[in-house]
Symmetry: C2
Subunit: 234 residues, 2 copies
DNA sequence: CGCTGCGTTGAGACTACTCAATATCCGTGG
DNA sequence: CCACGGATATTGAGTAGTCTCAACGCAGCG
């Protein structure tokens, strides 16, 4: 089991503790809710395989995805201290998910201070990503936002060794991407076409290739520091 | 010292531990950076008095505020597990700020598991607020977003007993509000005028009064659950 | 072979932006 | 007490970016 790119900070013993906290591993199909808003919650979910997302909706059906999760991510660890779910979690592809009861997480906070800080950190990386999304939603154009998202996903996938050079599997539909970027599907389509036409990106089937990383990063004003993926300095 | 509306979950002993973690209390003027992006960080800041915000900027000066902080909020507690600042913190009014060295927070995580979870929770409430902002930025109109913000601030101020009926001090300029909502100052002005004209809100000087809470809540589709302000059920 | 879901295209509308001018408020100094 | 400067708020007019609605294409699949 991997804890997102933070493996290097966990000792073998801590890794074992974490592994033991898993009660069960469950398979989900694509496009299924794992947790629904306001669900009672006494367990968290660690994504072992596949992509998932967290989203909020408005009464009339407008939906905003507020997080994308890749293998290794704890998708709803925050529900442990939070004790509520204020949003839903859904799979985007078939997924394998490890279930961690909150009771066991509580035990960890009582015996493993360093591991606790790493778990805490994991929820904070989600928050840092969301801050960038918020900056994008408020202050970047749709193209800049899309470019930034592809940069983010590329870097995150690279740390879990799920890229092949500049190519990677990208399983979202344009509709799901639209809900992520906060624009309409129609506009998403036009934005993507723009990126393709300017030859910074290709996207066919479920494979994205970054053709011009420099230019893509420049148009997104992308700086990966916020992902906190370099080893902790202590 | 208050930890945001979560006091009821802290024992007297825990409160004392937290109080002892404070190394210093510092005064800041309005409109001053407390922490700047990429600053080395070995301490966090607890807001005792005044309002502060966290923000991100783009190279050309576009700015997005990603959090508003009221008295009792830990403005950059996340910098403790995170060990980086990926954004800046600034005062919006004159502020009194308690400085908590990370060394002491580390000690807390080693000896006070419950207090640690409450601190963790505090960072997660920020994240929950940000998710609502993200939903707003992506899927709500500017008016809905503004309405939602006023609802949020009202509820948060009420829990720290800083409201007078439906009136409360609101020290932001329209420019700062614009950077919060992710729209231009000009449009912010028109949005506010709309809210005033429809008589759901008044805002004169630095005082806001919610004239029609029902209607404001309905147009914002506001549900305060996400603020996790009711006592924890355990 | 005809759904059904996804992607693409076009045309027109609307929200929010830009630029620019003017108004108001408030603190400061004469 | 008034004049002034600077920051903030307001207004207007034209524009850009994004949305809406609607149609059409294409592919996978029962």
């Amino acid at each position: 089991m991997k804890m997102r790119a933070r493996d290097q900070t966990l000792s073998a013993e801590e890794n074992a503790v974490l592994r033991e906290a898993v009660a069960d591993v469950v398979q989900f199909e694509a496009d299924r809710d794992i947790v629904r808003e306001h669900d009672r919650c006494d367990q968290s979910h660690l994504l072992m395989h596949g992509w998932a997302c967290r989203y909020l909706t408005l009464a009339d059906g407008r939906r905003q995805i507020v997080a994308l999760h890749l293998p290794g991510d704890f998708v709803d660890l925050h529900s442990f201290p939070f004790k509520r779910m204020d949003h839903s979690v859904a799979t985007l592809t078939p997924c394998a998910i490890a279930v961690v009861p909150h009771e066991r997480l509580k035990r960890i906070t009582e015996t493993q201070p360093h591991l606790t800080r790493v778990l805490w950190l994991s929820t904070l990386i989600d928050a840092a990503i969301l801050r960038q999304w918020m900056l994008g939603a408020g202050r970047r154009s749709a193209v800049e936002r899309a470019a930034h998202l592809f940069c983010e996903i590329f870097v995150r996938l690279r740390t879990i060794e799920a890229v092949d050079g500049a190519r990677f599997a990208f399983p979202l539909t344009q509709l799901e991407l639209a809900d992520t970027l906060g624009v309409t599907p129609v506009h998403t389509n036009r934005v993507i076409q723009g990126l393709k036409r300017s030859e910074v990106l290709s996207w066919r089937g479920q494979v994205v290739e970054i053709l011009d990383p420099q230019r893509l990063g420049r148009m997104a004003e992308f700086d990966p520091t916020y992902l906190a993926l370099e080893p902790e300095r202590r």
